[in-house]
Symmetry: C2
Subunit: 293 residues, 2 copies
């Protein structure tokens, strides 16, 4: 069976793994990413981690998932906010020279979406739309097992889609952008304003206890999120939406409302689009390995 090496590089930690084509993690390591030190420290450390995985002579290549949009042909991040020094940096060069195998790089939400499409909740479906709903909101479009990343790698930057233009502008994203209204950060912000909640986790906890403010926040978020999904559905009409990211751990508290509002916001024939919770524990490193063709 085909094997490759996946690298899931984040602002805090980095995971490297040997993965087979069925999505089995054969060996893996997770360590600090040393992101603040810049690419001249981050990348040699990744190379050392790969060597410590053991025998990689039967691996077909290395795939790296990074937090931000990627120009996949030039193999550079076009925008890097959590990895200082990585914008425009030739991420793959050192690893290609050291390991003499193909190295590819892609966006981490695309990696997670690809893994869910190939071996997770979207397995066997032609068009999978993956959404990660966490600190931010990101998406990935996978058609026939291939990621569509767009001209600049910005396909999937759905957090910037306007869901209600009457909301205030609070950062660099559009006023009423989905990420500012339906992400974990947004849930936490509304919880703070309404009843002094610390974060989204507390809002979910209070909702579970029946707190009316918390329930109202989740209901509004569900409508906003459903409207985002409706916009996406009218563009690509997927077989399935797979929802991952931290918020989806509380799926029992809001997926029902999302389903209801989504059905109101699409043409009747589209109401059989499946909405499923992501299945994989480590989609990022798996999907990065799957970047290797």
């Amino acid at each position: 069976m085909k094997k490759s090496i996946g690298v899931d590089l984040g602002g805090t930690s980095v995971r490297t793994a040997i993965v087979d084509s069925e999505g089995k993690i054969l060996k893996d390591l997770k360590e600090s990413s040393y992101a603040k030190e810049g690419p001249s420290v981050v990348l040699p450390h990744i190379a050392d981690m790969i060597e410590r995985l053991g025998d990689i002579s039967d691996c077909e290549g290395i795939g790296i998932g990074v937090p931000g949009p990627v120009d996949e042909e030039r193999k550079v991040m076009t925008l890097s906010t959590n990895l200082p020094g990585f914008t425009g940096y030739p991420i793959t060069r050192m690893l290609e020279e050291r390991f003499r195998m193909p190295v590819c790089v892609g966006n981490d939400a695309n990696a997670a979406g690809l893994a869910e499409a190939l071996v997770g909740a979207g397995k066997g479906r032609k068009i999978v739309y993956y959404i990660t709903q966490s600190t931010g909101i990101g998406g990935a479009l996978i058609i026939n097992g291939k990621v569509v990343s767009g001209k600049h790698g910005y396909a999937g930057e759905i957090g910037n889609i306007v869901i209600d233009r009457s909301r205030p502008k609070i950062n660099g994203l559009n006023a009423g952008a989905a990420e500012n209204e339906a992400s974990g950060t947004a849930i936490g912000r509304y919880g703070r304003e309404k009843f002094g909640a610390k974060n989204a986790i507390e809002v979910f906890g209070q909702a579970r206890k029946g707190n009316a403010d918390a329930l109202a926040i989740l209901d509004r978020m569900s409508y906003d999120f459903a409207q985002l999904m409706s916009s996406i559905a009218h563009v690509v009409d997927p077989d399935i939406f797979v929802i991952g990211g931290g918020c989806s751990n509380a799926s029992d508290l809001y997926f029902g409302s999302v389903r209801k509002y989504f059905d109101e916001l699409v043409h009747p024939a589209m109401r059989d689009v499946e909405i499923a919770k992501a299945e994989l524990a480590e989609p990022g490193v798996l999907g990065a390995a799957f970047f290797v063709e």
Copy 2:
């Protein structure tokens, strides 16, 4: 050179043509579609038109474009509002039996988009997003020369995307749906309300003369249309938007504003996405012919 037969079937007229793979129309006929008579009249009439095209023995197949979403595998329209009796009707069967060649069917906006992608304004680009802005608003996503039509054929039903949820609900589409705010019909409606205009053409004419009301209508439409495009861009990040349909004949009056607002509504790196006017005079019949692989 490969040849095939294109059929552009509308509620009013039907066009059939022999088309070569470079998009040259070698022979064509345009007649009433007899849509009100239903498929048992419409389809034999199309067959007769195809026979009257002359020698078709070197054609590889027949492609039909129809006004509505299509299940391409089952070869049926899943919703037909302008062609009575066509919802669920086996459109291709009679033609397959009569001509003994492959017959495929697809949505007419997808046909037009495919033609623009292969031989029109989007030629040579990897990801083309085509929008027809006419009586209604429809779209088509073409990746590497192939239409992405979605699970139910509803990819491209972008007229139902909400661009401003505060607008009144006026029909079966969502409140604030793009089609109700930025189509030719919408421009005409706002023109009627503001200064008694008959239709969109009069609004465009008055704008050309400097009428402030007409200019304000087009400015608002441009923002609404740009926001629709921004939503699409964050999902598929196309190389180019190609805008066709009747409104685009007045492109000099509003494409500049659309460009300006679009740039405000996307990430800075996405501002080099091209926005171009459609180039082809008959994209529908060409694209239908290109449905034949």
